[in-house]
Symmetry: C2
């Protein structure tokens, strides 16, 4: 069937010839910033929808999956995180989840484009409800340069919550960036990065593992989870650590002081259980 494109938003197709469409009630916002084109639509069934350069960034209905999985697994894996840096993350959904951890002392977020945060404040206010937390600092500048300039050992956890590895985000998927992050991380430091679809992007995933190992990380782990509005509906994040992973703080995760909709200690364990085809692909990395 053909969709009426006045009633439907259709994402730019993937290289594999697939695309998702959402039925819209109207366009709420359109803005060309210095970096990208930001659009916000109302949808019939997914709440508000943010689009950047024609690609779906998030909807109100399902963003909790991605944001919870970008924040909680890495923070329950580090033994005692206090200082967090988020690169990207302008919609502030990851920031909100990070700030649920009461023992954190400082969370800096560096997104190149203030326009994303301004649009999120207006159209996704629930994601921005913690932006005034005294521990949070929002900076709008180049995250790659920020990490390069950071004092060694500045952070316990770095979360790279970026767009796809094209356009402004491409440098965030490269060995030099991972190396700068390694230097900016403290002794038990961990970086986590969104790492695309296991069905569609295994090459990006294996390249990222290789680049992280080449950048000096001792251990790399991918977690998988559903993310319905991203291509294939199946997504990953990848953690790299200065020392070998020894599981996560299961008791702290079980006894966490805040609610979640997708994340739990059991779900965390399940997200680490990679299917054989992924294990095989990662097993070939030297």
């Amino acid at each position: 069937m053909a969709l009426d494109d006045t009633l439907w938003f259709t994402e730019n197709p993937t290289a594999d010839g697939s695309t998702l469409s959402l039925k819209v009630t109207g366009k709420l916002h359109e803005e060309q910033t210095d970096f990208q084109k930001i659009e916000v639509y109302g949808t019939e069934g997914f709440g508000n929808l943010m689009v950047i350069d024609g690609y779906i960034m998030l909807t109100a209905r399902d963003n909790y999956l991605y944001h919870e999985m970008m924040a909680h697994p890495v923070l329950f894996t580090h033994p005692n995180p206090k200082r967090v840096l988020i690169i990207g993350g302008g919609d502030c959904g990851t920031l909100r989840e990070v700030l649920r951890h009461p023992d954190l002392e400082q969370v800096q977020q560096v997104d190149i484009d203030a326009g994303v945060t301004r649009a999120s404040e207006k159209f996704f206010p629930e994601l921005c409800e913690s932006n005034n937390d005294a521990r949070a600092e929002l900076h709008f500048t180049d995250g790659i340069k920020w990490v390069k300039d950071a004092a060694p050992g500045s952070y316990d956890v770095i979360i790279v919550d970026s767009t796809d590895p094209v356009g402004p985000a491409i440098g965030l998927f490269s060995e030099p960036f991972f190396r700068d992050c390694h230097r900016a991380l403290g002794e038990n430091g961990i970086i986590v990065q969104q790492s695309e679809s296991p069905l569609l992007n295994m090459q990006i995933l294996t390249d990222m593992h290789q680049a992280m190992r080449d950048a000096g990380y001792a251990d790399v782990q991918t977690l998988h989870f559903p993310q319905p509005v991203y291509p294939s509906g199946w997504w990953t994040c990848t953690m790299a650590a200065k020392h070998a992973f020894k599981g996560f703080r299961i008791e702290d995760s079980v006894c966490k002081s805040f609610p979640t909709r997708y994340y739990s200690a059991e779900v965390h364990q399940g997200a680490l259980a990679l299917p054989p085809f992924m294990k095989e692909a990662f097993g070939k990395i030297k």
Copy 2:
């Protein structure tokens, strides 16, 4: 953007206003059977695509996720399965996975529409490679009546691999059908049924749990897994058993004699780890 509908197949939208499109290379088959309209397309990135009444049934690229998860968890949960009934499953992908279990003695498949199997033999021959296994029987008749007429205790496992709960499949989601299955199952019998998307169809899922409990099953468990070409890309199957579940045969799963791409003992465990929002919804069922 608007898609050229001569180059793209777009699925009938969900009630939530979402739909997936796949870029096609051409239509390979179209047939109106007594029950439904079957179409097969070639696609650019997903191999052959089967569509029934405008809804995506499977693609060559990603059907292993669904078929492995419909077959292996239930077969490694029953203590000693010998006799399996598949209702639906006409593409034969679930049948192929079931037949990988060497200790099974008999697998009967009952699909109402021979057209699906004929189309699969031609356009998805890899899924039909075990159809001539001496343990397999393919019947083309009404699965609901088949179960009603079955002798009590005829099967160890019943797998309901159906289309959505509309049209010919609606009776497969009802308490009377589950009750007939209960009677047709042996002492340790288990039924498993595809049970839609956790994001989009929680009402169907909770109704199914309720109907299974009302039909006399002692225990009900849902497993979740990615299924990219189904709505939301996130799917479930639900098992109901005559006795309380006591885990699955982990050692047999770890030492299984056949390869899988998605399923493993770890993935099985992970699929049982339900996110809090699902636990909460199922917790309300009496």
